[in-house]
Amino acid sequence: MRKKINRLMIRYTRIEDIISGSLHDDLVMMDIDKGKYFALNQVATRIWELLEKELSFDELCKLLLEEYEVEEGQCRREVEEYLEEMRKMKLIKVLDPSSTLGTSS
């Protein structure tokens, strides 16, 4: 129960000072430290755009379900994967108010 409540309190937002530019429906981003670029596909780009504001996982899924024709379960699974990948690439911040550390990215 505590784990479920914690998850509801977790919010996500993008890290703003990433250098990025659009390339059709994709977003190309630059990892300056490594001197490498990478591209987000259309869905990841849309998640990135939506995370301009802090959103919870459920809020994010709800917005995506309004835009994409996809079954809810599949949407939630894929969003979870995208968020984890973006967290590892340090593109987003995970704001967990219940964590003693405050935020993690």
């Binding site: 000072d17 250098i19 530019g21 390339l23 059709h24 981003m29 630059m30 300056i32 670029y37 591209a39």
Partner: protein
């Protein structure tokens, strides 16, 4: 006329980005070149770093062309290709800006900035920028204290004119000073015109500016008149009609000078960039002399052809003004003008 050029020519010869090329050829190939997009993003990063350094030092500046123009035209600093980063600032800010940039790893490869007695007027009167380089990214940075060396309408673009032509543009929570649309457009036309529209990229800038950014034709006309820029506008309009037949045109009061139009067309259509033979250089200098009316303008062009070295370099300046001029002439003659 654009669709007669290949993507390779538009990219290599005319310096358009693949996204711009997609726009004009009606293609969707730019996604095949993500590494080139990444390169531009790297330069955008450099722009951000330099801007932050200048902001932190409270140095007022105006970014010229480059990523800020790309942002104004397309909402994306990396949509349009650019090479150098150019910043305009007051001459009193040049030395503190160089000092801080050097502390952050930039180098002055051509001229190690210093002002001695007798050289200050030589630097600020006869040159308009200094070059710095980031040795890691190899990006060239130009700090300008003047937009052009030439005296359009007898006086050139004055500090007062620039002060009256500024506006603010927000980018990532920072308020950047930029030129207002009318001045920016005129600056781009003059810049492209003086370079004889050698790169189609510059004409594309004008086309996209007119089509995407609202501007006051009345204010533009007034500015153009104050700088005697009608010939530049006439040539630009005729080239716009050639390459973008459906494009709206700039306000124009008389016919296009045939020599200026023919020379610019030859440059645009040339397979190579520029003719660096002796005859080619003479033609180019003659072209520049005709770009604006007035003896003061023509003298300022001639002075820069024959007397002043092109770049501010360490061995150029001399306390003795005669030696300085002779040094400039000798370098020019060595290069056969």
């Amino acid at each position: 006329m654009l669709n007669k050029l290949s993507r390779e020519q538009l990219y290599q010869r005319h310096h358009l980005s693949h996204q711009q090329i997609d726009d004009f050829l009606g293609e969707k190939e730019s996604g095949n070149y993500p590494e080139l997009k990444g390169q531009i993003l790297g330069k955008v990063h450099d722009f951000r770093v330099v801007s932050n350094i200048l902001f932190d030092q409270n140095i007022e500046f105006i970014p010229l062309k480059g990523p800020m123009l790309s942002y104004r035209l397309y909402g994306d600093m990396s949509y349009r290709n650019f090479g150098d980063l150019d910043f305009l600032m007051d001459r009193s800010s040049i030395e503190p800006a160089i000092k801080k940039l050097k502390e952050n790893g930039y180098e002055c490869p051509l001229y190690d900035w210093h002002i001695e007695v007798g050289t200050e007027s030589q630097i600020f009167d006869h040159y308009h920028h200094i070059v710095l380089i980031n040795p890691h990214s190899n990006i060239h940075l130009e700090l300008h204290w003047r937009l052009f060396n030439y005296k359009f309408a007898g006086k050139g673009i004055t500090d007062e004119m620039i002060a009256n032509s500024k506006t603010s543009l927000k980018y990532e929570e920072r308020g950047f000073q930029v030129f207002n649309p009318e001045f920016e457009l005129l600056y781009l036309i003059i810049h492209g015109g003086l370079h004889a529209w050698q790169w189609l990229k510059w004409l594309v800038d004008i086309h996209d500016f007119i089509n995407n950014i609202p501007f006051s034709r009345e204010k533009f006309n007034q500015l153009a008149k104050s700088l005697d820029a009608q010939r530049m506008i006439q040539v630009c309009n005729t080239l716009l009609q050639d390459y973008f037949p459906d494009s709206p045109l700039l306000p124009q009061s008389s016919r296009t000078p045939p020599f200026l139009y023919k020379y610019a067309t030859d440059q645009l259509q040339g397979i190579e960039e520029g003719d660096f033979s002796l005859m080619g250089r003479i033609k180019h200098h003659w072209y520049r002399m005709q770009c604006f009316p007035g003896l003061k303008y023509k003298w300022s062009v001639l002075s820069h052809i024959f007397l002043y070295p092109e770049q501010l370099e360490n061995d150029q300046l001399s306390r003795n003004r005669l030696l300085y001029y002779l040094g400039g002439m000798s370098k020019k003659l060595k290069r056969r003008i």
